[in-house]
């Protein structure tokens, strides 16, 4: 695959690779995505807007320049506490894996990030993964983030991303740290055409965390725990579709993670409410709600790729990889897409044992390793 290097959300030549429940592969123009849907289907997207989560500034104790990337949060409400990855001096032109290290970070260290002031509350099992608390009123923190923050940038893009490049057309609450980029496919015209064909559209709000940190140890912890909210209307749409054999189609990995997290807690039912997704979906996961997923084209070894293993087995994924490479699919946030129906042999019989295992397999990074005194 090749990196998509232009920040265009819906390029006219975008492609989608389609895999049906029997493992058959075909290719279409992505603008035809709505034609893959059937009356009675429910399409669920993540409406989180992307925070400008990259904050440049200074580590007060040493005076050294740093970049803080907000990486996660425990709740959709409030804006005082975040988990964050700290980088040394440099900018997005250097790939994250080659970025310089920050100064040693200790509990209580103060960080000056534009108008924002923050304190390192604790280290999260890694020398540059911190729990960060901002000072000031919620209003001051929002203003500081909005005015000083920049979207997290990507080395494969030649020009810096503006914040509007990172918001999907349906973006709402500013709670994501990186764009829920599968949603770039959507526009209002597509939603109107779905509606005309009795295809329901609903959203969840899921605080998509960092997709990559450039550090193998940290990347092994991805995805971090992510809070999400399922609104009442989406819950009802899903219930209705389940009762009438409509398909539930997730736009993006965050939607699959959230819906399956709730379904695992409530025995296949998806009640509305806010929860914290802690599980990791992979080859051993059984899907209880999501019938198909539209996602980016992910590289082997990433957490997004692992999630796709819940939908199709490795033999099919191998064929997908070959097709993506042979046909020059573009990867990364502004790249092409895949649409995977859950393989026919991956049905939904889930017992309580699976629920327990999903909870135990939490990927939440421990926050107790180095508590402040």
């Amino acid at each position: 695959m090749i990196a998509a290097h232009l920040p265009i959300q819906r390029p006219s030549n975008a492609k989608v690779l389609i895999v049906d429940g029997q493992g058959n592969i075909e290719h279409r123009a992505r603008s035809e995505f709505a034609n893959l849907l059937r009356p009675g289907d429910v399409v669920v997207a993540n409406d989180a807007a992307t925070l400008p989560a990259s904050l440049s500034g200074q580590h007060s104790r040493t005076g050294r320049r740093i970049e803080v990337r907000l990486a996660g949060r425990d709740s959709l409400d409030g804006n005082r506490q975040f988990s964050a990855v700290v980088f040394g001096e440099g900018n997005f032109r250097t790939p994250t894996e080659d970025r310089s290290k920050p100064p040693e970070l200790n509990c209580g260290d103060r960080l000056e990030l534009g108008r924002l002031r923050g304190t390192v509350l604790r280290l999260l099992n890694h020398p540059r993964f911190i729990s960060l608390q901002f000072e000031g009123s919620p209003r001051e923190i929002w203003e500081g983030l909005a005015r000083h923050g920049r979207p997290i940038q990507y080395a494969h893009l030649p020009t810096p991303l503006a914040v509007w490049d990172t918001w999907t057309p349906i973006a709402g609450p500013p709670v994501a740290f990186e764009p829920p980029s599968a949603g770039f496919v959507l526009d209002w015209s597509m939603l109107a055409s779905m509606s005309a064909r009795k295809i329901r559209f609903g959203t969840i709000t899921h605080a998509a965390g960092l997709s990559s940190t450039g550090d193998p140890e940290l990347d092994a912890l991805l995805p971090f725990a992510e809070p999400y909210r399922i609104p009442r209307s989406t819950s009802l749409m899903i219930k209705h579709a389940q009762a009438s054999h409509g398909r539930i189609i997730a736009i993006g990995t965050t939607v699959a993670r959230a819906l399956e997290h709730t379904a695992a807690m409530f025995d296949g039912v998806v009640p509305f409410g806010e929860r914290l997704a802690t599980q990791r979906l992979g080859a051993s996961s059984r899907l209880r709600v999501v019938d198909a997923i539209l996602s980016g084209t992910h590289e082997r070894g990433t957490s997004h790729y692992e999630l796709l293993r819940a939908f199709v087995d490795d033999e099919i994924l191998g064929r997908i990889d070959k097709e993506l490479n042979a046909r020059d699919y573009r990867t990364h946030e502004f790249g092409d897409s895949v649409f995977l129906e859950r393989a026919a042999n991956r049905t939904r019989p889930l017992g309580p044992a699976i629920c327990r295992r999903m909870t135990v397999n939490s990927s939440t990074p421990s926050v107790s390793a180095k508590e402040c005194a």
Partner: protein
């Protein structure tokens, strides 16, 4: 000179609400409604902040001048003050983020901030290009950009059955060709048409877009336009704010048919 003589410029579409004043009563549809008002530190905008807070709404106001924003928040502490200039493209997303951060979502967006154009008013032929550009940036592009940035939140609100409304504050100068009001009139005419088209297109999403002409008011904008006006003949901005709030309340009283259908289907 009677510049503004119409009081309501409601949109002639099949979905136009019947606008009946509601006043404050136990079923006040504005209770807990999340409202953002641009140009909220003076004139009609400030009166709207007061009126909507009085009716139980959660209100965020946007204005350019930090001092004025802070004065309003000091006077009306429940209001969320946001400093920003809707005519600047770079300000739109920071404003949007702060509104959504403060209110947790949005039900009603009132695009009230307006630029009069050159002061004193000029014939179009004497209007500098930069002046008309600035007027269009504030009165047309600003509301367009801000509404677009808010659309995901407004549509989400509508899906939850809350009825989402965008109000674009208009003027009879949008309809009538008044000499020396070229920059302002052209921008408001474009905004009126934008409102009409958007109202058609967004009805499917349950988002209503209204264009409301509040009439000639005793505001700083009017004083700049017509310095020698007899102020006693002008509408008080608080009266216009009450009328506008009544109109919004009338729209909010109607649930979206689509959200009802979803609930019906799901339950049925």
């Amino acid at each position: 000179m009677n510049i503004h003589h119409k009081t309501v410029d409601s949109i002639p579409s099949p979905l136009s609400p019947r606008l009946t004043p509601t006043g404050a009563h136990p079923c006040n549809p504005l209770t807990d409604i999340r409202v953002a008002i641009t140009g909220g530190s003076s004139g009609l905008g400030l009166s709207l902040v007061r009126e909507l807070l009085n009716r139980g709404a959660k209100v965020a106001l946007v204005a350019r001048c930090r001092n004025r924003v802070e004065c309003v928040v000091q006077e009306l502490p429940p209001a969320h003050g946001i400093v920003g200039d809707v005519s600047r493209k770079e300000d739109i997303h920071p404003i949007t983020m702060q509104i959504l951060g403060a209110l947790g979502g949005l039900d009603v967006l009132i695009n009230n901030a307006s630029d009069l154009g050159p002061i004193p008013l000029q014939l179009l032929a004497d209007t500098e290009c930069e002046d008309i550009e600035r007027t269009l940036a504030t009165n047309l592009l600003g509301p367009f950009r801000l509404t677009k940035a808010m659309l995901g939140s407004l549509a989400a609100s509508a899906r939850e059955g809350r009825v989402a409304v965008v109000v674009n504050v208009s003027s009879d100068a949008a309809v009538h060709a008044y000499s020396r009001w070229g920059a302002y009139g052209a921008s408001k005419a474009a905004l009126l048409h934008l409102s009409r088209i958007w109202n058609e297109e967004l009805s499917l999403e349950g988002v209503r877009v209204l264009s409301i002409d509040p009439g000639d008011m005793d505001t700083p904008l009017h004083a700049a336009a017509v310095p020698d006006a007899d102020r006693s003949t002008l509408k008080r901005p608080e009266v216009a704010a009450r009328e506008l709030a009544d109109m919004v309340a009338a729209v909010l009283s109607r649930r979206t048919p689509d959200s009802d259908a979803i609930v019906q289907e799901a339950i049925g």
